[in-house]
Symmetry: C2
Subunit: 423 residues, 2 copies
């Protein structure tokens, strides 16, 4: 039992952070809104001028040069933010936000397969760091403002403020959540998300569709709800293994590129050429870019995976290959939207094998592969509720936690500490 | 980076616990179903024969004798379960389940103001302990099965399996969640809840109602959603302080009774007499029992608080007094349903002061006072979604976390460890 009358310092803490966080999260939300708008324009241009893909190797050199000259330590990306929250040290360079924003838009304009959450998290972290320095915050407060910046960036880019809040608290260490900065994070994420909406940017909405016709596994004995739960278990194991494959491939390919190609600016050139080659092999442009907007009617996108037949059997594997090559060769963006894509298309494929509703299993894959790769099962369960409603919340939780356990200890963020081993 | 190929032991762990947990949670669910049915019968009898209240002091003596003779160490209740999970030691007596069940039903039959989650958690913990001994589990596995028992009991008694899962993980320590036993807990809670439903027991449903007519705070400048959020902050502070008051009163009254009354069996007699006296003072039987079912049309219940005018200004304070006296003088049940009642009626009162929708603020109080008193803000946010849907999830989170910070460090469970101080 600590001091019983701790309410006054808590009130001061609450009011102080409520006021501090407003300018920080409005700024982050505005820059994320600009980023989402630019991303939409870049994707539109690529659809209009498909030959832009052939310039991908050159784009890689440009990104390489930007990081060599201006970016420098910000190359470490999300891991630098996580490191700085664990132990504030060298600081996050002020250039990080514009550099990652420009390089991500370049990656998407020329057809790299990447995401956007890395960019949003880095925008959030570096803007928060600038405010933290201006306000001369001490080490503890710097941790809080950086974590809030991550929450605001994540919440704003996906339109899921509560998932952003829990993500920021959950991503720092495997197997543990701490509550210290949750309130500033929540306010930051809500304000960041509201700012994006105020700028007129809207997020894609997904629909699970009706699952009324679910088959009973053993008619009369096991209820449809339990039949579904039993089918979720093997699917969630597959989602966890897919997350594991993704993490292992990113790490392995990065080391392989470094070992095979000694001239560092040639690495993105090689990466770009492989992506072009893959596009000829698959004969499809569906695995380039974000995978959210369709290039033509019948494209495999995240949305199309919510309908039976909306994805090919191996779409998830192709997207894994495209994205791990794009990111490990130095292009920028993030992993999460591709992880959504991999999960949704794998869910679509599994729904056929397991005789389960495609929309529901695409939704489960969407959140569970991400949960496994980033070790954030609670944030992903909540993201499921924010994106798809609460009807299937228990299945969301089961899928995310099973995937979390089956993804192994090597997530995509190498700076994540292992607080409690998974087993 | 620990071992990358840890998937096989994890698969073994998953399958083993999936199988182990079925008999445990079906048993817990069945006993909880019996308990809920008995509680309903007891409440019905008390409504039919109001003179039963006058026997409350005698009922207190009976409960006292049962614990002196059979119950013994199980008197420590929920704290004993928490202690055993932190450090398996003397074990939980097998008698705990029937003893707490009978004593809770006695408390409710004669009009004590108490809850039911304590009973469900103790049924869960002691049944799990029995299975753990039968299966000769080691210390680590005993922790997992006990935590799962708590999750199953809590999930089953309120019909909120995911909240039960997170509650079991969250209640052990303040300010931290660990993931180790989350999967067995989730399965236990889902099966426990499904078992209660299979026995034909249904839970009360609550409706927030339409909040379409929310007033803008500064018309044209601040959107209705933000106006609501701004009104939630002071309300949530009040919920946190109400939780603090409850915890402090339980601890203080318990010590006061022990100090003033040296003959221990006279303590419940005094408690029972005070409850009878209070009922004459207030002229109302609304604050006796659970507060879920209405005794007559116009009773103040949890459900009635969801409508404007459905609670009196000081209902929350009366319920606080009734319940803290009932529990601190040795009657049995639990704190959570009274905390729901206190929160919902306080939310109703505050909605009038703040010009906010009564249903929404009753719902916020329902979960937030409980979050503050037990230090489980995440479980309560999720409970909000399970009971009231996901539309207001962000407000649920804001209310629960603010109440958690403002409730101080003295929750109702003295065995809870403080992992991370709140501030």
């Amino acid at each position: 039992m600590a001091n019983r009358f701790a309410q006054f310092p808590i009130l001061k803490h609450l009011v102080r952070w409520l006021i501090l966080i407003i300018p920080v999260s409005v700024t982050i939300g505005s820059i994320v809104a600009l980023f989402l708008w630019l991303l939409h324009q870049a994707t539109g241009l690529r659809f209009q001028y498909p030959w832009l893909l052939f310039l991908l190797p050159l784009a890689g050199i440009a990104i390489h040069l930007i990081y060599k000259t201006i970016g420098r330590s910000s190359e470490k990306g999300n891991n630098l933010i996580i490191d700085e929250i664990h132990e504030p040290g060298g600081g996050i360079p002020g250039w990080m936000a514009p550099v990652i924003l420009v390089c991500t838009v370049i990656t998407h304009l020329f057809g790299g397969s990447a995401g956007r959450e890395g960019t949003a998290v880095q925008i959030g972290g570096s803007i928060a760091q600038i405010f933290g320095k201006l306000l001369r915050l001490n080490a503890d407060d710097t941790k809080i403002i950086l974590t809030s910046g991550v929450a605001a960036g994540f919440g704003a880019v996906f339109g899921t403020p509560l998932a952003g809040t829990i993500f920021a608290a959950e991503v720092l260490s495997v197997g543990r959540i701490q509550y210290t900065s949750l309130l500033p994070c929540l306010f930051a994420a809500i304000i960041g998300d509201a700012t994006v909406t105020a700028w007129g940017i809207h997020h894609t909405t997904y629909h699970i569709g009706v699952t009324a016709g679910v088959q009973e596994l053993i008619p009369g004995y096991i209820s449809p709800a339990f039949s579904l739960l039993i089918k979720v278990v093997p699917a969630a194991i597959a989602f966890g293994l897919a997350a594991c494959l993704f993490s292992v491939m990113v790490h392995t390919l990065r080391n392989l590129f470094l070992k095979l190609i000694r001239t560092s600016w040639l690495i993105p050139v090689a990466g770009g050429l492989i992506i072009i080659l893959l596009t000829f092999i698959t004969g499809s442009t569906d695995y380039l870019g974000l995978g959210v907007d369709p290039q033509y009617a019948g494209s495999v996108t995240i949305s199309s995976s919510f309908k039976a037949g909306g994805a090919d059997t191996w779409s998830w594997l192709w997207k894994t290959v495209y994205t791990t090559i794009t990111l490990s060769s130095g292009f920028k963006g993030g992993e999460v939207t591709p992880l959504f894509y991999i999960g949704a298309t794998l869910g679509n494929t599994l729904s056929g094998i397991l005789d389960a509703p495609a929309g529901l299993f695409a939704a489960l894959g969407f959140i569970a592969v991400f949960a496994g790769a980033t070790n954030t099962p609670l944030a992903c369960t909540i993201m499921g509720v924010e994106l798809f409603g609460s009807e299937y919340m228990h299945l969301f939780a089961a899928a995310c936690f099973i995937a979390y356990f089956f993804s192994g200890h090597s997530g995509i963020y190498s700076s994540q500490k292992i607080a409690v081993p998974k087993i």
